[in-house]
């Protein structure tokens, strides 16, 4: 069951990713992107990252993508259908390098998967935490203990980003 779900999510995620790259309209791309993010969230669930899956849907697919949509609308790009893919040379080169990269990744990862898993252990490193603290607690606990400083820094970063975005987007007086 889980495998079937995984393959469905995976197929949708990859397919939608391709859609992001090939669709002409930015809005379409955006929608494909949302699809990918949602499918990835599904995979997250299968990988026992429930909190992150929720986060992915809410923050990423929800908030950030809406931000993108706002910008697209703001700039009135929704109706832009002209081709913005680069020339043939660029496409061929792009395919060449990304193909090679993909090939290399698959070659590295696709082969001895079993060995990899046995090396890393049984795959239940977080099960105990999940059981004890629940989906949110498991991630919240390290976040507010060991990683509290980076966490606070992230807050500052977001604040800075907000201010920066405001400054940048403000019309020059």
């Amino acid at each position: 069951m889980a495998e079937i779900l995984f393959f469905i999510f995976a197929a949708v995620a990859v397919g939608a990713a391709v859609g992001v790259v090939v669709s002409r309209s930015p809005v379409a791309s955006l929608l494909f992107m949302v699809t990918t993010l949602a499918s990835t969230a599904g995979i997250f669930v299968l990988l026992e990252a429930h909190f992150l899956a929720a986060l992915q849907i809410m923050v990423y697919a929800g908030a950030i993508m809406v931000l993108f949509l706002f910008v697209i609308m703001l700039l009135n790009l929704g109706h832009e259908y002209q081709r913005d893919i680069r020339g043939n040379v660029a496409v061929i080169m792009g395919f060449a390098v990304t193909g090679l990269m993909g090939g290399l990744l698959v070659r590295q990862l696709g082969g001895g998967t079993a060995g990899l898993e046995t090396n890393l252990g049984p795959g239940d490193a977080i099960d105990a935490a999940l059981l004890e603290y629940g989906a949110v607690g498991a991630i919240a606990r390290p976040l507010f203990t060991d990683y509290v400083v980076p966490f606070e820094l992230t807050g500052i970063l977001l604040l800075v980003a907000i201010v920066g975005a405001l400054v940048l987007a403000k019309k020059a007086s």
């Binding site: 393959f7 990859v14 992001v20 790259v21 995979i43 792009g94 898993e117 976040l143 992230t154 400054v167």
Partner: protein, 97 residues
Amino acid sequence: MLAESLVVAGMIFVVGTLGVIVRRNVIIMFLCIELQLNAVNLTFVAFSRYVGIEGQVFVFFVIAVAAAEAAVGLAIIISIFRHYETVDVSNFNLLKW
């Protein structure tokens, strides 16, 4: 499921890279970068099952940073658009010098 996840992540990453290379619309390029980030997140999550909860923590941070990045990046795009009236990056070549 680790290997499969990694392969999927790799594929999404490659597609994202391709998008960055071939597209000219700066917003779509931006989306493709998000795609790459997402692929990386996936690998983190996949590994976290075997290594520990820290992988997920890291993804949490990545999402936060991605949010910040999106905010600033989009602000920059708006400001550039105001100047050039376009989102085609082939017009943005001031860095050439």
